[in-house]
């Protein structure tokens, strides 16, 4: 186990290193932070001073080494644009993303899996076909288009829900959360639904194909031959087994939701980290982008690790490998 974790850590360290290098170079190509931060009436001297301030006067490799050295010491640097520690910015924005990501995932799982099992068992029934058809629509429509329609219908025409922003936040454990107030919940609803639609459809498809695969395993037939009831077969024999593939995908999906819900956050002006990333890319805020992506890489590594553990928890075959 130790050697396994060591290997994983080594690999993910390497991954983070390559990622940081690519992004560092990439951001260098995308734009010049001094240009982005300077006003039209700045003198050349002003620009040079700004470059020195930001450490951009040094050769690129030196900039990278300084940056990498700081990262190793746990210092992710200071945002060019916000002039604040990058870590603060990310930590501050994270709760906003977390709350809609978690809500979307909960919606996705709790609606998608039952629908998927139903349509897997009753394959070719009318209900199953209807579910699959809508799932395909939900799955096919680009996220931004769904967002636009949601805003049009629920915010503009019906005026049931707010179209943008995070609303009122309340504090819990020293962190501001929107879900603690009715107003915040209202603001969360549309972006969370926007993210959830795709998740519902995906979970439905996963659960459906999982169900169909498991359904034809001999132990399912044997369970029927044992004389236990259908409900029990579904609850005990089917669900436990289809959860295994679902957990893997769900793990990565949660990661994706947290990391890259950029489009949704942009359209709904949700002040999360996805939007932070997009804004930072546009503003060539290199420290934020690089640190962000390193953290995301590490998060994916961590999620993979959790998925492995969950796997073992769900699948005794892995747990007892000798």
């Amino acid at each position: 186990m130790i050697s396994y974790i060591t290997k994983r850590l080594w690999q993910s360290g390497l991954l983070a290193f390559i990622m940081s290098l690519i992004v560092f170079l990439g951001m260098y190509v995308v734009g010049d932070p001094v240009e982005m931060l300077s006003e039209e009436d700045w003198t050349e001297q002003d620009k040079i001073e700004l470059a020195i301030e930001l450490g951009l006067d040094k050769p690129l490799h030196e900039q990278y080494l300084n940056f990498a050295g700081d990262i190793i010491q746990g210092d992710f640097g200071v945002s060019f644009v916000h002039n604040r520690p990058v870590l603060d910015l990310i930590v501050e924005r994270l709760p906003a993303t977390l709350e809609i990501a978690v809500l979307a995932m909960v919606i996705g799982l709790s609606i998608g899996i039952p629908l998927g099992i139903y349509s897997g068992i009753k394959n070719n029934s009318r209900g199953s076909r209807i579910i699959s058809f809508f799932s395909t629509i939900g799955y096919s429509t680009p996220n931004f288009w769904q967002a636009i329609l949601l805003i049009m219908v629920f915010a503009v025409f019906l005026k049931w829900l707010p179209a943008s922003g995070r609303g009122l936040t309340n504090s819990m454990f020293g962190i501001e959360w929107a879900w603690l107030s009715l107003d915040g919940l209202k603001h969360m609803t549309l972006p969370a639904i926007n993210l959830a639609i795709y998740k519902i459809c995906m979970q439905q498809r996963l659960a459906k194909s999982g169900t169909q695969e498991i359904l034809y395993q001999e132990y399912m037939t044997f369970a029927r031959a044992k004389g236990i009831t259908r409900n029990r077969i579904i609850r005990r024999h089917l669900l436990r087994n289809i959860l295994i593939p679902i957990v893997t995908i769900t793990g990565l999906e949660v990661g994706g939701l947290i990391a890259f819900s950029t489009v949704t956050e942009t359209i709904f002006s949700w002040p999360g980290i996805g939007k932070l990333l997009l804004d930072s890319i546009h503003m060539v805020d290199r420290p934020v982008v690089v640190a962000y992506l390193i953290l995301i890489t590490l998060m994916f590594v961590f999620i993979n690790f959790i998925v492995d553990v969950m796997y073992a928890f769900l699948d005794p075959r892995i747990r007892h490998q000798k």
Binding site: G31, M36, E44, N83, K159, P162, L168, I267
Partner: protein, 532 residues
């Protein structure tokens, strides 16, 4: 948005939130860009400045109203004397005196971690700030520096009592001034020292840029229109408008022209516009032998030929652009700065449209159907920018020029511009300093000492133009300075190192129960709105 104290239990927070929206006279505004801080010196970005203007005041406003100054003038070439308003109190109750101006100047020069503040270089030529008496200060400069008063429009005055002053307060260029402790940015943002003389007082500020303010009842002049102001920022214009329509906000800035059509026929909402100081224009590389992205059959730079530039300008139907694309929310340009801004020559005629003559000029110059132009422009930067860009491409292709419209993100665009890779590009410029500001940087021979031509991407040089601008740069008499400036502007419009298009109008959409009289500097201030 209302922030609840750490210790407050959730349901109290909920009740408070309910109360938040039932305040008697609360204005809820949505900005298009998030303010970064409530420390007034850290960022000159428009949104940040808009927020800060509610809390802090300068000596003179951007629209030349006297705020904390009652009068000012150059007593000699290097001394600007400002008489200060009496009886002004800071939000914390402290009196406003000359010492606060000196202190504020010091803090502007004071670098935290070596980082400059917004006026640190603009105030570089200032050698000293001295109190003549409690309500008179003098700014000493190293040489002729007539635009100092323009620069000081951005100097928010802070209370010297919020810092630990040393034995004597003596201005110096490093901001040391004998001061032992300055308030930090964090202390501004937490509200501890967000202490100005403005019409509104700090209530809360979040790092997302959301803020809440309450009226300063002890304001020296006409107090604010609103008991309370809540501001948030929504970058996506559609979402901002949707938020207004959904009742989340009372007032939003910068709705798109298209969205305004949504308000027509809806009596609950309306919008107000104000011609802004922003001019949208094109820059042409007229100086290089080969302009990037511009080719002609004979390999020359066709933009060097004045007839080509005139043709490019004449081919554009600015009236159509203003009417059809901008929905009337723009003014056809006559020059490179708004003709209605102080100091402009308002008698100059609008830029003309004559496609036939344009074709004829091209033919005369020998460039019929032989020019190809990459028209570069930033995306998401100007109202309707993409459509205007395409319209210009349409007009130019009609006179036989092959146009390749390249719209790219601001970051990529700016990098290309600073590398001088853009032969023809679209740009927008607006500044309270007036017409002089734009043309002092954009055209003319580079002159570091006088800070002229710093953004001359046209590579345009003309001796008469340079002479006019050099004279303007050292003229402390405002009327004379205006004349020099107008002279330069006429030369620029004659020579067309760029092509003026139109002046953008600022737009605010709001509920019908308030009325709004906008500002030309594109900022959004709560008191623009009054309850009907």
């Amino acid at each position: 948005m209302k922030h609840i104290n750490f210790k407050t239990v959730c349901f109290v927070g909920f009740l408070a939130s309910m109360m938040g929206s039932v305040y008697a006279d609360t204005l809820r505004m949505a900005y298009s860009v998030a303010p970064k801080t409530i420390d007034p010196y850290k960022s000159s970005a428009s949104a940040t400045a808009s927020l800060n203007e509610h809390v802090y005041e300068a000596l003179v406003s951007r629209t030349n109203e006297k705020l904390l100054a009652t009068s000012y003038g150059w007593t000699d070439d290097t001394t600007l004397v400002v008489n200060l308003r009496k009886g002004v109190k800071f939000h914390n109750g402290a009196d406003f005196t000359a010492e606060d101006v000196i202190y504020s100047s010091c803090r502007m020069m004071y670098r935290v971690d070596g980082k400059k503040n917004m006026l640190t270089s603009a105030m570089g030529p200032v050698t000293d700030v001295v109190a003549i008496d409690d309500h008179t200060v003098a700014f000493k400069t190293v040489g002729l520096y007539p635009i100092l008063i323009q620069k000081l429009k951005s100097l928010s005055i802070l209370d010297s009592g919020d810092a630990d002053l040393g034995a004597t307060l003596k201005f110096d260029n490093t901001g040391d001034c004998g001061i032992t402790r300055y308030p930090t940015k964090a202390e501004f943002e937490s509200g501890k020292y967000a202490n100005g003389t403005g019409k509104y007082k700090y209530e809360s500020f979040a790092n997302t840029g959301d803020a809440a303010l309450v009226r300063n009842d002890n304001y020296w002049g006409e107090p604010g229109n609103w008991d309370r102001v809540e501001m948030t920022s929504v970058e996506n214009s559609g979402a901002r408008m949707a938020g207004l329509l959904a009742g989340d906000y009372d007032l939003i800035e910068n709705p798109t022209g298209e969205d305004l059509l949504a308000l027509e026929g809806n009596p609950a909402y309306s919008y107000s516009t104000m011609p802004s100081w922003r001019t949208i224009f094109l820059i042409l590389d007229v100086g290089s032998d080969v302009a990037p992205g511009v080719t002609a059959a004979d390999g020359s730079n066709p933009l060097k030929d004045i007839r080509v530039r005139q043709a490019l300008s004449l081919s554009i139907d600015r009236d159509a652009i203003v009417d059809k694309l901008m929905g009337g929310n723009a003014t056809v340009a006559s020059q490179f700065a708004p003709s209605y801004q102080d100091g402009a020559d308002s008698s100059m005629p609008n830029m003309a449209y004559d496609a036939d003559k344009a074709r004829q000029l091209l033919a005369e110059a020998g460039y019929s159907d032989s020019i190809s132009i990459d028209l570069r422009m930033p995306t998401g930067k100007y109202q309707n920018g993409k459509r205007v860009g395409q319209a210009i491409a349409q007009y130019w292709s009609r006179i036989g020029i092959q146009v390749n419209l390249v719209a790219e993100p601001w970051s990529v665009f700016r990098k290309g511009r600073s590398a001088r890779e853009l032969g023809v590009f679209m740009y927008g410029w607006g500044h309270p300093q007036g017409p002089s500001q734009m043309i002092s940087y954009a055209f003319g021979t580079r002159d570091k000492a006088l800070n002229l031509g710093g953004s001359n991407y046209s590579n345009y040089t003309d001796p008469d133009y340079d002479a006019a601008m050099r004279a303007w740069a050292v003229e402390t008499d405002e009327a004379k300075a205006f004349e020099y400036n107008q002279e330069a502007m006429r030369i620029a419009v004659r020579d067309l190192p760029g092509i003026p298009l139109y002046y953008q109008h600022s737009i605010w959409a709001h509920k019908s129960d308030i009325s709004v009289s906008g500002r030309p500097d594109e900022r959004t201030f709560a008191d623009m709105a009054t309850k009907n």
